[in-house]
Amino acid sequence: MPEHQKLIVSHAPFWHNCNRVTDRSRDIFLAALPAALFGVYQYGVSALGVLALSVSSAVLWELAFTRVAGRPVSVGDGTAAVIGLLLGMMLPASMPWWGILTGTFLAVVVARQIYGGIGANPFNPVAVALAILMLAWKGRMDFDAALVNYPFDFPAVYHLTAVKAFGTAAIGDVSLGDLLLGRQIGGIGCTFGLGLILGGVYLLVRGVIRWEITLSMLAGVALTAFIFNQVDPAKFASPAFHLLTGYTLIGAFFLAPEDPSSPVNFLPMLIYGAVIGSVVVFIRDIGVFAEGLPYAVLVGNLIQPLVDKIRPKALGKVV
């Protein structure tokens, strides 16, 4: 086997539950594909180029790093490809090649491999890369400016920026159906709400992600947005709007539940998800950024070791 053994445990017997990292990567890849393919349909060949380069460069960065570091080849587990796909889905279709190479380097090497590789990263690699890209190349990550040359048959305004700048009157014509069916601009794989929900449900059913994290994050978004909306409906958007725009859905189904950077116990998972959801809306409504999900996920990752100490559950059972 190309992958070395990281942990040595004792006291048999053990029962393999047939859950393999490769299978989980395949499931996540499949779950993300509907939204990604819709992005290719919406933005054309340029979006395909971004996704293709993101996946391939993520794999190649990991391969290169493991070679240089003298570690066993690990790209066969598919996690690097998943990181590449998710990062590509969150970028604008006009992202230049050097931005993608930088992003995948940050995600795979800086945010994961230098911590020890799979299972050792304290922060979500995609969120780390995206947060740095958003800070480093604000103009490239500004969907209004980045997608200015793409014609659409709907008002092509990035809704989160519009509502933050001009209030809810700016999104008065936007229906939830539009948001679900991808009639909005944004990241390549982040606009098709229905596809993301279908993919997320598939992951929940397959047991790849924990429902506690996903649902508590969505509830955190909805509850916080509801409070803001009740305080000033002319300024702050509704919960449904926040749930179906920007990076919310891809964050709830694909980023926040990532295994190494999320809690493992029931109550901590609920707190972790709710904190991320709340911070997303706080940043969007009263922060300096129109979109706050990458930073919110990083905040959640930051508190994860702490919240996991709340009512820890002993492993195993003494009869």
């Binding site: 086997m1 190309p2 992958e3 393999r20 990292v21 490769t22 054309g44 060949v45 340029s46 395909l48 180029g49 971004v50 996704l51 293709a52 380069l53 996946v55 391939s56 460069s57 794999v59 190649l60 391969l63 080849v73 790209v75 066969g76 587990d77 598919g78 490809a81 279709a93 006009s94 090649w97 103009g139 500004d142 209004d144 400016a145 200015v148 040359n149 793409y150 014609p151 659409f152 008002p155 092509a156 305004v157 920026t161 933050k164 700048a165 001009f166 300096v288 950024f289 129109a290």
Partner: protein, 128 residues
């Protein structure tokens, strides 16, 4: 843990996608449509997004080219060029005002005349 076949699949996927990416970037780059779909004006007061297509389309505001590209006659509409061709970012005079003055006069003047569209700074300029 993964098998050699799975490793080869990932290698194959990476190589194929890299080729697709190279072809996409080399041969299918995004070129600005003519006339432009939208224009983002960047300034120290923040960006302003102008939906060119909506202003020109029959289903939008149905403006003719000459209503904004004021130097053109009807038979020259297909030669319309960017505002920045004549209006400099720094210098201007009474005949050819500098870019920001020209754009403000054009946008606010038209919006005021038609009684539609934003006229206040914060209804167009966005700082984030």
């Amino acid at each position: 843990m993964f098998s050699r076949i799975e490793l080869k699949r990932v290698y194959g996927l990476a190589v194929c996608l890299l080729l697709i990416a190279v072809v996409s970037y080399a041969a299918f780059g995004v070129t600005p449509p003519k006339p432009p779909a939208r224009i983002v004006f960047q300034s120290v007061a923040g960006k302003a997004l102008f939906d060119h297509a909506r202003h020109a389309a029959d289903t939008g505001y149905s403006l003719t080219c000459g209503e904004c590209h004021h130097t053109l006659s009807k038979d020259e509409y297909d030669q319309a060029s960017s505002c920045t061709e004549c209006h400099d970012a720094e210098k201007g005079d009474a005949d050819v005002p500098k870019r920001s003055d020209a754009l403000h006069q054009q946008c606010i003047g038209c919006h005021t005349e038609y009684g539609a569209g934003p006229v206040e700074c914060t209804r167009c300029h966005v700082m984030f």
